[in-house]
């Protein structure tokens, strides 16, 4: 469980996050949705400590993460896996080396044990026979999956995904979403996913938090989202013709 208490963040005098309070639950896929530029990435990076927040607390299962000293923070980070918007695989390393990287850094396993673990993770995300390829040689969807494999290599308790299915076709996107959901349940992780994809919301939105201009505007589950009276949320969800059509059908027009 991750609790975010009243955090704020600005860049060059412009407030990007405004007093956000939210609770992310364990064993569930918690979604942060919002328009491009609303502050989703900044929120996610503030939670994991890649950005220092100006006020408030980020609490990981009772530990106030943002107030830890450098060493304890580092210890905590070994329990955090993160999937970045572009995958962020290391260009100069092969697929297998990428997944082995956290193991090299933090474990005393032998080379063959590390390889074994890396291959386990790669198999989990359905990457086979691509071990020796470089990130430039694999497709966008494969990159995302390799990045997930790398993020789960150390068996994290917390998983963060920044737009895991942006730039993917709808079918592949759903595969990735389902994978994230499965892993979350399997390892009982607290998972937070940034997205602006309504498909993901419907697919895996155990809990949905809507960010609007840097503030928390609405929260609920994928089931309440269509019944919300919140105007900005409705504008966001029903932006596309397709979702408008669904709404109209639902309302019997």
């Amino acid at each position: 469980m991750i609790e975010v208490k009243n955090i704020a963040k600005s860049f060059n005098g412009i407030q990007v996050l405004k007093n956000i309070d939210v609770l992310f639950e364990k064993g569930k896929t918690n979604l942060i949705i919002g328009q491009s530029g609303s502050g989703k990435t900044v929120l996610l990076k503030s939670i994991v400590g890649l950005h220092d927040v100006e006020q408030g607390k980020v609490i990981f299962d009772g530990t106030v993460f943002n107030e830890l000293n450098f060493k304890d923070k580092k210890e905590m980070r070994k329990q955090i896996g993160m999937l970045f918007q572009g995958g962020a695989l290391f260009d100069s390393a092969t697929v297998e080396e990428n997944v082995m990287y956290p193991l090299n850094m933090f474990t005393e396993l032998t080379y063959s044990e590390k390889r074994h673990r890396a291959n386990e993770c790669l198999k989990r995300v359905n990457i086979i026979n691509a071990n020796q390829l470089y990130p430039a040689e694999i497709s966008g969807g494969m990159k995302k999956r390799v990045a997930i494999a790398r993020a789960i290599a150390l068996n994290p308790k917390y998983l963060f995904c920044d737009e895991p299915n942006s730039g993917l076709d709808p079918q592949t996107a759903i595969l990735i979403d389902d994978l994230i959901k499965e892993i979350t349940v399997e390892y009982n992780m607290t998972t937070i996913v940034n997205t602006h994809d309504m498909n993901s919301v419907m697919e895996i939105g155990d809990k949905v938090v809507f960010i609007y201009k840097g503030a928390k505007w609405w929260e609920g589950t994928k089931d309440d989202i269509f019944d919300s009276e919140n105007e900005e949320l409705n504008n966001f969800i029903f932006a596309s013709k397709l979702s408008q059509k669904i709404r109209d059908l639902k309302n019997g027009h």
Partner: protein
């Protein structure tokens, strides 16, 4: 933003770079990789430039001292001292600023804008130290060899040019390059190149590390890395010469 802002930020980055490495073995491996990438790949360009510069210095000296009053060994002596004092350290450093400075800034800059640095940080890795320290060590180790190599090849180039144009004999040249030889000049050149190498890697890494935006900004960082490294090389050349030769 002002110069002092950047200098402050540069030193606080260096402070993080020299934090105690967590896994020595991994740093060692990275350093070897960088020596290969930055050092060995520079041998060819340094060799080519040195042989031609040695040749040009020799020919120019020969034509400018084309007077029976000047002894012929002056040609070799001038070629030697020019190479030892300035060319094989300062000019080579300026060339390396272009070659390895832009390489370092664009590699680290790309890692920044594609969130690879964030990925390192999230794994609890000190990204500043992991990315920059191996490059500093590699360049400080290999540049003295490049300088020594440049001296030898430059003197050789001078000899080839001198005898093939007939401006002097091999004997004149060999006598000249040994005449009034001051071994300390080599030490002076090596001290300079080590400091220049440190400046190139750290200034370029600084620009790469603090890139923000996209590929356009990576290009800008890489240009800034080369320009600023070159300016600081020239500045430190004056300071070091005053300190070491006066």
């Amino acid at each position: 933003m002002g110069l002092f802002y950047h200098i402050g930020k540069y030193f606080s980055l260096l402070f993080r770079v020299f934090a105690k490495p967590e896994k020595f073995k991994i740093y060692y491996r990275e350093t070897i990789k960088e020596i290969d990438k930055l050092g060995l790949n520079s041998i060819w360009i340094v060799a080519v430039i040195s042989v031609f510069m040695g040749a040009v210095i020799t020919i120019q000296t020969a034509y400018n001292t084309d007077n029976p009053m000047y002894p012929k060994y002056l040609i070799g002596l001038t070629a030697r001292d020019t190479l030892l004092l300035e060319f094989s350290s300062t000019i080579i450093a300026l060339i390396l600023a272009g070659k390895i400075g832009s390489n370092i800034a664009s590699e680290i800059g790309t890692m920044r804008v594609t969130e690879q640095i964030d990925a390192l940080e999230i794994m609890g890795v000190n990204s500043a130290s992991y990315l920059i320290l191996p490059r500093i060590i590699a360049s400080v180790i290999f540049t003295p060899f490049l300088t020594l190599m440049s001296m030898i090849i430059g003197i050789f180039g001078g000899w080839i040019a001198g005898i093939s144009t007939g401006v002097m004999t091999t004997q004149d040249y060999v006598y000249g390059i040994q005449y009034a030889f001051i071994p300390y000049y080599i030490v002076y050149a090596l001290i300079k190149i080590v400091i220049f190498a440190f400046l190139i890697t750290t200034i370029s890494a600084y620009h790469g590390y603090y890139t923000s935006g996209g590929s356009l900004e990576v290009g800008k960082s890489s240009t800034k890395a080369v320009v600023h490294s070159s300016i600081f090389i020239l500045l430190f050349n004056v300071i070091l010469t005053q300190l070491l030769l006066s």
